[in-house]
Amino acid sequence: MDCRKAEYLITQRLDQLLSKEEDAALAQHLACCDACACELALQERLSTALREMGREEIKAPAELSSLIINSLGPQRRSALVRLPVAWRKAVAAAATLLLLAGGSAGVMTGLNMANNNGKTVALESPAPNLAIDNSDAYAPPNNTEGGNNASPPVETPAPDGTDKPDGTQAGSPSPNIPGHQQTGDINSGGEGVIPAATPTGSKTGAPALAAGGERALLSDGMKVSSTVLKVSVDNLTSARTRAASLAAGVGASAQVFPEQAGGKAVLVMRLTVASDKATNLLAELSGLGIPFHKQDESRDLTPLYNETLVQYNELLERRGAATDSSEQRQLEIQAASYKQLLDAWEAEAGKQVINLWLENK
């Protein structure tokens, strides 16, 4: 037997696939060939090592299943959750810090920094409510050939609950809903500037966007109540686990952002919870350690949302037009951070957001 053949039999032997005769023939070869004997020894060791790796218990990250389910949900089809984790982590951390830094000023600074030729947008706000329309994902593809400045007056059904994503569509069965017309404006016009007010003033909301096509400009309804709760705890890891399970217990979604603050390990958790469950959850979270800061805040993010959306669309458009791949990637990353914000705001509208800050005692 030559070594080549022996090598093949060694592999077979590892898988217990040798016949008696083959086994005997191999043994004979091994007896007089050190190299093959070593090979077998090493292969067996390798095999054992790999099998042991297979026996290690590996736990999926806590957020995995919710990420999967969220991206399959009928109402939300966020492209963000499909972004690579590393990107997501980066933009999510940035977004949280901006939000934590307080107020729209902080967010805007960040956004404008990201956008080199930022444009300003004026929007009419005293208009009927428009539900946040995530269900656009299922709307027909955008008609980018939509006429310029059409922005026809539309009777918005004006449901005021932000939790009725179907409201607008139900009210405007025609595929020619204003949003899609408006989309034409924004994208084909390439201006990224929305007319300050439509002539009729009945509505400024307009689903926008060709490329990622699933968002509406809002006239209202992007109100977010948030609470910053800072707690110092004995053990970050166990506090985190506990907080996550408390959150899960009331059906809250949670994102975790490990941070460093002045050399201190800090964990920021962003919990989005139904408003009626917030008080209880806050009380429970305070019990994780010693709470040392608590602040409630309520903000109307509508204008900010709209401006961000316009800028986001513009980024997508620029990305589509970009020929250079590194530029494209750059734009993609920027767009991802915008999208992160938009998604976060959408998810949080009408709910209570708890920014839980955990730090070691």
């Binding site: 070594c3 390798l46 218990e57 999926a60 995995l64 499909r82 690579p84």
Partner: protein
């Protein structure tokens, strides 16, 4: 098992919460495979997520007599292979270059045997660390068969179905993957300066 079938059936009729249950049941298994294939937690999470999403979309094609775990592993490994082929920016150890001739292989091994192979001196933990590293640098096809066979414990037949290739291909890939693993292990343990005196009599 019956529970799984029931859940699959429900999920097939668009019951998202049933699918969520399936995700919860199988996520560790899937994520484990993802870790072994991709080698790092971030990519593993992306991969696991994508695999479950694909699985959900393909649920209609799943026949319930099959094992759901194997089925989703199959999806996972194929998603991973596709991702790798698409990216293929990574430097993988080429498998075409070694062992072109019969005696090339035996020659290399002989040298190893005579020197007192430093790899034999590695502690179990070091050895495993090295195995992990080398595994990550294999070509995707070789890593896939090795992971499926050794780490996940699938049979040749199962692997051939999972990878949609012949039994012969599985065998030869596995054999070559092991060969390269061994060669790289030896090479790297030497490079790492593990130049220990021969502690072993020649067998």
């Amino acid at each position: 098992m019956n529970d799984t079938r029931l859940l699959v059936r429900k999920a097939q009729s668009n019951d998202l919460s049933a699918f969520e249950e399936l995700v919860n049941l199988y996520q560790n298994r899937v994520y484990g495979l993802c870790i072994h294939l991709s080698g790092n937690p971030d990519d593993a999470q992306d991969l696991a997520q994508e695999a479950f999403i694909r699985a959900y979309k393909a649920l209609g094609r799943f026949r319930n007599e099959a094992d759901f775990g194997t089925w989703i592993h199959r999806i996972t490994v194929n998603v991973w292979l596709n991702m790798q082929r698409k990216n293929n920016g990574r430097q993988a150890v080429s498998l075409d270059e070694p062992y072109q001739s019969n005696d090339g292989g035996s020659l290399q091994r002989e040298v190893a045997a005579l020197d007192g192979d430093p790899i034999q001196e590695l502690e179990e933990k070091e050895f495993r660390g090295l195995v992990r590293k080398v595994l990550e640098d294999l070509t995707e096809e070789h890593r896939a068969v090795l992971v499926l066979r050794e780490i996940e414990g699938y049979s040749y037949e199962e692997i051939s179905r999972m990878l949609n290739c012949s039994l012969g291909t599985v065998k030869s890939r596995l054999s070559r993957a092991r060969e390269v693993m061994r060669r790289e292990l030896t090479k790297r343990s030497r490079e790492a300066g593990e130049d220990l005196p021969a502690a072993r009599e020649s067998r």
